[in-house]
């Protein structure tokens, strides 16, 4: 067995180093060196731990092609959880240093304080963190990050994006689409109740706002892909960030729309925010945009001289389509940031 030196370079130019044996995956080796990188599933399925190998040889284990396309893999793209080094490696991480935790990811307990239906088949789940042994109660996370929720005593674990912002009350909010026959969905519908205690792990994930002067920020969300967008927009409102902002929020049918009241309230705090509701299969009386958020994005991008930063969250097909359109219309790749919802 050989051990190799792995050198990571973050998007903002910070270097980190750790050792990895050739039978160990990079994500696990980094964690043993107390470098916790954004990741979720740990077996090549979700795509959260995407990075680019810029130098060195490695083998890439079994993975979901929706999380890493053959084309990206060909160009050195990899998933750290299923990458095994064959030599020293240099790796470029597509996020800033602030998304790397030095230490271990926290496991916390949280009590359910609210379950509310906000749209057809969509719930808002609100949790409140229980004080940890050091007396901490604050909910610390960056907008765009997610948490893993675990029902004690049952083998049910799911990752959901946070829809609120970091706060001092320990409050965590999630928007959850109920999946027919989904384990967590069934538990939510049939057993979950206010006062019940869950285990939460996180925050995790590299998706989030990037600093780029006053460049416009466009957010494209499919369904509950709205959650991280809400978090980012709420952060912009809290910090009174002046960037021009647009949200394209897409669903299949108008009945599936949710959070309109929250978005209206956000527009009062963030007057520059434009919200475009997109309904793919609307009834005749729908007066908003008819089509997918990608259609709306294409139409508006065509008219823009200054190409915005584009944030994408939702099902992989939506993200792929939006990326393709944005690239074709001249948006540089570093201005496209995405979070894919893949089934786990």
């Amino acid at each position: 067995m050989n051990t190799h030196t792995i050198e990571l370079m973050t998007r903002d130019g910070h270097q980190l180093r750790f050792n990895c044996a050739d039978d160990q995956n990079l994500l696990a080796a980094a964690a043993s060196a107390h470098i916790v990188l954004p990741a979720q599933c740990g077996y090549g399925n979700c795509g959260t731990c995407y990075a680019d190998v810029t130098q060195g040889d490695y083998t890439l284990g079994k993975h979901n092609p929706a999380a890493l396309s053959a084309e990206d893999a060909q160009k050195g793209g990899t998933l750290l959880c299923c990458t095994f080094p064959q030599s020293d490696l240099h790796i470029a991480l597509p996020f800033d240093q602030d998304r790397i935790l030095i230490g271990t990811i926290k496991n916390r307990c949280a009590d359910i304080i609210g379950i509310e239906t906000v749209g057809e088949n969509t719930l808002r789940l609100a949790l409140c963190l229980v004080e940890d042994e050091e007396g901490n109660q604050l909910a610390e996370f960056e907008p765009g990050q997610f948490m893993e929720l675990n029902v004690p005593g049952q083998d049910i674990k799911r990752a959901y994006s946070l829809s609120n912002i970091a706060n001092w009350e320990g409050r965590l909010e999630f928007l959850i689409r109920l999946q027919p026959d989904g384990l967590f969905s069934t538990w939510l519908k049939e057993q979950a109740a206010v006062g019940q205690r869950l285990q939460v792990q996180g925050p995790k994930g590299a998706f989030g706002l990037q600093e780029s002067g006053l460049r416009p920020r466009w957010f494209v969300a499919g369904g509950t892909g709205l959650a991280p967008m809400l978090s980012m927009l709420r952060r912009m409102a809290e910090f009174q960030e002046p960037h021009p902002a647009r949200l394209y929020f897409g669903v299949n049918r108008a009945e599936e729309l949710f959070c309109q009241a929250e978005l209206k309230a956000l527009q009062l705090e963030l007057p520059q925010l434009q919200v475009v509701y997109c309904v793919w299969k609307p009834e005749d009386d729908w007066t908003g945009f008819r089509g997918t958020p990608v259609d709306a994005l294409e139409k508006d991008l065509n008219e823009m001289m200054v190409k915005p930063d584009i944030y994408l969250c939702g099902p992989p097909r939506l993200i792929d389509a939006a990326e393709t359109i944005a690239r074709a219309l001249g948006v540089p790749i570093h201005q496209i940031l995405s979070e894919r919802f893949l089934p786990t």
Binding site: D12, G135, N136, L209, E211, G213, L214, E238
Partner: protein, 555 residues
């Protein structure tokens, strides 16, 4: 980007300076370039402000913007590209307002308004890419191929000194002190820089004039501090934690501290000072608050470790922030000119979110045995025992004074100051100021006939105290400051120190030892000028420099 304004600038290449995607301080290229453009925009405001002032229509709001804007570009102050994009738009609006009032006043006075060029006619581009294109032509290095590095170095000396002057003037301003003479001096210097001066003599004279102006600013600041909070008194400060919820406040802004103390009164939350906030404990009106419990940690360069370990929120005022780590990014707040992307900024002095955070965080949960240090030897405290000090010098009990201080940094070679202070002979007194003191302020120096051997004069902002003490001693001994048994061992890091250095040089103080390394913007030719004219000395080793100082070996 190209930036070489601070001591830690990249010196790994033949041409010193940070010129890659990110500077040594953590400032990215976009922010650095936007800062260059903001200086350009501010010069444009000053071009009109100077002329408007000459016609008796001064615009103090514009000067306030100039102070604030210049301060945001100092090292370790504001890293937020978005903030600079906004400031650039504001700068253009303010420039247009000042221009309007100038034109009106000129016409009213029967004059034809001057047609100004350069910075005065700059218009901000609509988007970031456009702004960056504009920035590419106005950085400190612009025109170097025409005028050569010496002229660029002299312009840098003027610009960086001026940044320090503006920062100190802003400190005074936030405590309610401003001066028309100071504003006029700042406008004049910026107007001078806007002409892209090429005359070395004129540039050097201008830097000395700025040194003189800075003395006035330091006096204004001293008045602002003592006027608001009383004169510093010798005080024992706790440097170990106390049980309970806690807030840590760093940077230099005593006004922000006073507001925070008032807002946390009776809240059960203890306030700790960090870095340059330490001297706050010596001011009567601040130490009157019982919940200002102590000092935590050391100088600014240790903040990443110390803030991560502090069990409460942190407020970073005025300057000296470095990249907040993820461990404390959600519980650090900035105020005043400070900024970091993704970090909460409190612009209205309402510290409620900070207090809320303190209550949600654990605070200190265990008791440790108490340790203290003594601070508070501002000029009043020292002058109060002047007779004793003068007698001790006359009797030979005190052989020499060293002023060892300034701003600290992370670079190796800074142990020089620890060694210097600790190895200074027992019959010498070490005065200190700035955050370089943390390198030795827990060492037991003892006393000479009741006079402590280590006298902490305060923040770098209290350099005025040092100058007043030196002048008073010279008066008592009826000699020139250069003839006193006094050596200045100055550590510099950023542009406030550049302003103080210019003040000392303008006062004719010779033989200052400046380290740990000389500024990268001073070319060998310029260093030679400073050595010839002012006897400026680079550091060698602590022991050799102590011996040379005691032997009064002068350049």
């Amino acid at each position: 980007m190209f930036c070489y304004q601070c001591e830690q600038t990249d010196r790994s290449n033949i041409e010193s300076g940070c010129a890659t995607a990110k500077g040594m301080c953590g400032k990215d290229a976009t922010t650095s370039d936007l800062q260059d453009l903001l200086i350009h925009a501010i010069e444009g405001i000053a071009q009109y402000a100077k002329r408007a002032r000459a016609l008796n229509v001064p615009n103090n709001a514009a000067d306030e913007f100039i102070l604030y804007g210049m301060f945001t570009t100092l090292t370790n102050v504001n890293f937020n590209a978005t903030r600079f994009s906004t400031l650039l738009q504001e700068a253009a609006t303010i420039r247009d307002q000042v221009k309007q009032s100038y034109m009106k006043a000129a016409l009213a006075a029967g004059q034809i308004p001057e047609e100004l060029t350069g910075s005065a006619v700059w218009q901000p581009a609509e988007d970031l890419e456009g702004l960056l294109k504009q920035a590419a032509t106005v950085g400190i290095n612009a025109g170097i191929e025409m005028v050569g590095p010496d002229i660029i170095g002299l312009r840098s000396l003027v610009l960086y000194g001026l940044k320090g002057v503006c920062a100190y003037a802003h400190h005074a301003y936030v405590l309610g002190k401003e001066s028309a003479t100071v504003y006029a001096g700042i406008e004049d210097a910026l107007d001078f820089l806007s002409t892209a001066p090429t005359d070395a003599e004129a540039l050097l004279n201008r830097s000395m004039a700025l040194g003189t102006l800075n003395l006035e600013v330091m006096a204004l600041l001293d008045d602002a501090n003592t006027g608001s909070f009383g004169a510093q008194q010798p005080t024992q400060v706790l440097i170990t934690p106390t049980l309970g919820k806690a807030i840590l406040i760093s940077g230099h802004d005593l006004g922000d501290l006073a507001t925070l103390l008032e807002q946390t009164k009776d809240s059960g939350v203890n306030i700790y000072t960090h870095g340059e906030m330490l001297p706050a404990h010596a001011y009567p009106k601040l130490k009157a608050y019982p919940h200002l419990v102590g000092n935590y940690g050391g100088a600014w360069q240790d903040q990443q470790k110390e803030f991560a370990e502090f069990p409460g929120p942190i407020l970073m005022t005025s300057n000296c922030i470095i990249e907040p780590l993820s461990q404390y990014r959600q519980r650090i707040f900035t105020a005043g000119p400070v900024g970091w992307p993704g970090v909460r900024h409190i612009s209205d002095k309402n510290f409620a979110p900070l207090i809320q955070a303190a209550k949600a965080l654990p605070g200190f949960k265990t008791n440790v045995s108490e340790k203290t240090i003594t601070i508070g030897f501002g000029r009043d405290a020292v002058m109060g025992v002047a007779d004793k000090v003068i007698d001790a010098v006359k009797s030979g009990a005190i052989k020499h004074f060293f002023l060892v201080g300034g701003c600290d940094g992370a670079a190796s070679g800074r142990n020089y100051y620890t060694d210097f202070a600790e190895q200074a002979p027992q019959d010498t007194v070490v005065m200190t100021l700035g955050c370089a003191k943390y390198r030795f302020n827990q060492h037991d120096f003892g006393d000479i006939g009741g006079i402590p051997r280590l006298l902490d004069l305060g923040q770098c902002n209290d350099s005025y105290s040092a100058i007043k003490i030196a002048t008073a001693l010279a008066g008592a001994f009826e000699c020139d400051v250069n003839e006193l048994p006094l050596s200045l061992i100055i550590s510099w890091f950023e542009q406030k120190a550049a302003a103080v250095l210019l003040t000392l040089l303008a006062l004719g103080i010779r033989n200052i030892r400046l380290g740990p390394t000389l500024p990268a913007f001073l070319t060998p030719n310029l260093v030679q000028v400073l050595v010839d004219k002012f006897g400026l000395l680079p550091n060698t080793t602590a022991q050799a420099d102590i011996e040379a100082s005691l032997a009064r070996i002068a350049a």
